[in-house]
Structure formats: C-alpha cells, structure tokens
C-alpha cells in the first residue's frame, strides 16, 4: 500500500488550495532532501506531498524597488550563483555555498531550510543578518513575517498550518555595505554546521563604523541579531582590538542566551576567533 500520495502543483494558488484540502494531511515538498528522510522515521508524517519545486514563480530571484526577492523553492545553487544576490548580499551567497555538497545544494531550497529550521540551517543566520522578511500565503491571504520571528527555535516555526512559504525579501543594503559568512564544520564539505557567523557592515566617510550587524548560527536557541555587539561597534574606528572586543561581547551574549553548555568549551574560543575574523573581512577592504 502506498504510504502517501504525490501531486505536483502548477501555481502558488493551486499549491495553497491543495495544502488545505480538507480530510488530507498534506505537506509541501520542495528539495525533498529532508522530507524523504522524515518519512523513513515517521510513515504517518502526511497523507500527501504537494510538490512545489517546479512552480516557476517559486524559483524566481529578482531585484525590484530596493528589495531582493527570492522564491522559496530557489535552490542553494540558484541563490549562490545569482548576480543580484552576489552583488547585494555576499553573506547569503556564502551561506548557501556552505550547505552540504553540490548534490544537496542543487536540490535543497531556501524555503525548506527555513521551514525545517534545523539548528544548523546555514541560511538562517544570513537571512536574519539581512533583516529578511518571509512572505507566506494561506487561504486567508498573504502575510509577511521577519524570518527572525518566523523561526522561534530549533525545528520550531510559527508558520501557520496550511501556509505556504512563497518568497523571502531583504532590503538591498546601503551602498558601501559588505557582508560575509564563516562556518566552522568538522569536515569541510558535508559537515552539518557546528558554528556559523554572519556579519554585515558599512563605514562612514571618516572611516568609522556606520553600521554593523552580527548573527550567529548553532550558538543560541533563537537566532537573532546580536544588538549589543552591533552597538559596541557603531561609531568606532575599525581595528583588530575593536574586533576582539566585539568577539568577547558575542561570546557573553551566546552564554547569556543559551546558558553554559558542554559544547561551549570549544564554542567559546571558536566563536571568538570567528567573530573577530568575520568583522576583519567586512571592514578591511581587500581582505575578503
């Protein structure tokens, strides 16, 4: 007997209708890299998969009116090679590049990464660093929610049941902004992320920090911008000591937000080094 059915949606509205058909527990299927494994654990995961991966609108990436919009079914390969993304948000291109290996990047999607909200999802810190908003469609209509509010913790989101992640939108950063993503994994290519940092920043005409953003992945239960660190950098002259100061603050924040855990023993020195390094890349032209 078949454990579940499969149906391919031709459009976003059809996908939402199918996901909300009464009497059937339906789930959206995009890259399938996570869902197919889910099924092996839990055969009752759903009655029917609604394949959204071939809906053209959900694969589209475009820059429009000061925003970059990325369809939720765009693959990591699509995102990391897109010129608008590369020009405006290196942090996101690098985060997508850090995902798995080419096979996984060719299948896995941004929407799947966010919807599953694995603690180690590489794209999350980058999206949150960019103040990305998730656009969700439900039978009742559309709704927009910052990714940092959509993802409430490891494997937890407030995506409404029957809601479909349609796209992500981030404001094009002010000109002169630079961003970077660093990942510490056990084995280069396939390692599920152990620790990641996403940073963005911009200098003013005097060479001082006009804006700084920092988000860490796999370090705290809820992924968010570390405002304390960002404020400490703003208005300062960028230098190695400043990055070190920011790194120490980032570690304090990690401990405050997550409590001291066994993994902190290696995460403390790792996060310190990675934070200092990512800001050096962002603020020192020629280093990235």
């Amino acid at each position: 007997m078949e454990r579940f059915g499969y149906i391919r949606a031709a459009s976003v509205s059809e996908a939402v209708a199918l996901l909300n058909e009464p009497g059937l527990k339906s789930r959206a299927l995009a890259g399938s890299t996570d869902i197919i494994l889910q099924f092996r654990h839990d055969p009752h995961y759903c009655d029917r998969l609604v394949d959204i991966s071939l809906i053209p609108e959900l694969r589209r990436i475009e820059q429009r009116g000061g925003w970059v919009h990325i369809g939720a079914a765009a693959t990591f390969s699509d995102v990391m090679s897109n010129p608008s993304v590369i020009a405006s948000a290196m942090v996101l291109a690098q985060a997508c590049r850090a995902v798995g290996a080419v096979q996984i990047r060719n299948m896995g999607t941004l929407g799947g990464n966010v919807a599953n909200a694995a603690a180690c999802a590489d794209s999350l810190p980058a999206l949150i660093c960019l103040d990305t908003v998730a656009n969700i469609l439900t039978p009742a209509g559309g709704q927009a929610l910052p990714v940092s509010q959509l993802v409430t913790g490891p494997n937890r989101t407030v995506l409404p049941p029957g809601g479909l992640l349609v796209s992500f939108s981030y404001p094009v950063p002010d000109s002169g902004s630079r961003s970077a993503f660093l990942k510490l994994g056990r084995r280069n290519a396939m390692a599920i992320s152990r620790l990641t940092v996403a940073a963005m920043g911009r200098l003013d005409e005097h060479g001082r920090v006009a804006e700084a953003r920092l988000v860490t992945g796999s370090a705290t239960p809820h992924i968010e911008r570390l405002i304390v660190v960002e404020q400490a950098l703003t208005g300062q002259q960028p230098c190695a000591e400043l990055y070190q100061h920011a790194a120490n603050l980032a570690v304090d924040e990690m401990i405050r937000l997550s409590g001291f855990r066994w993994s902190s023993e290696y995460k403390v020195p790792a996060l310190t080094a990675m934070t200092a390094r990512v800001f050096a890349q962002v603020f020192e032209v020629g280093e990235a």
């Binding site: 499969y6 890299t33 197919i36 099924f39 390969s77 996984i104 299948m107 290519a189």
Partner: protein, 160 residues
Amino acid sequence: MKLQFNLNGCHVEIEAPADTSLLSVLRDYLGLTGTKEGCGVGECGTCSVLLDGRLVNSCLTLAAQASGRQVVTIEGMSLPDGSPNDLQQAFIQYGAVQCGFCTPGMVLAGEALLASNSQPTRLEIREAIAGNLCRCTGYQQIVDAIQSTAQKRQEVNPNA
C-alpha cells in the same frame, strides 16, 4: 502511480508507489544497477545522477519528482558503442578506480563540473566531488583523471 521520464535519452514509463526513491526505481524497477546505494541518506554521493543536467542524490529524490524530466545515469555516459568515454578512460588510466563503488557517482560529478566549468582548478575539482566519498583511492587519482580530461577536451575543442 504512473511515472514517465526520459532516461539516458529514452522514454520510460513505469508504475511505482509514490514513495519510491529515484534510486530504487533505477535499480529495482529498471534494473540499471550502475547507480549505487551507499548510505541512503545523502552523505556518500554514490547514488548521484543528473536530473535536468544537475547533479543530485537519487536516494534523496522521489521518483515522482523526476516525472516528465530528464535523468542521466552512468549507463548514459558511455560512447554509442558501449565503450567508456574519455573521462571514464582517464579514471582507468590514472588508477582512479579501485573497488569501483564510488566510481559511477564520481564520473557523474566530474561530468557535471566539466559541463559548467571547462577548465577547473584542482580546488574546484575537489569542491565538486566533495559530496562523493571514496574509501579506496585517497582522491588524488580522481582529481587527476578529471583534470586531465578537462585539458584534453580543451585541446580538442578550445572554444568549449
């Protein structure tokens, strides 16, 4: 459910449950055992195939997702007379095949790379095969085989 797709240039139609992986359809339903199953969870790359020209793990792909699309497996790589193509020849020549279990996936990963980057650096080659595990060769020979094929193809067709 009924599935139909283009496999190595031929139209195929089969009936399989919706939860069947593409890997299982290839091996168990169609008898094409060139595509291997290693880990079954997306970590070893030995099940790699090309789906619409892109390298994917067939163990993590539902066969239903391939419906109406183009699939290329290692069986589709050889020359029309069935002999190995130049990349496969290079694998033999450079000693890149020992037990051979990773080889189909490695060859497809190599072809996928060369299709988008005709002159890859060694680092780019290593990155392109990073999702393919080999427990025998130590990878150097595989990188050599892909690199030499890139060079030879460039000599034959400098505009590629």
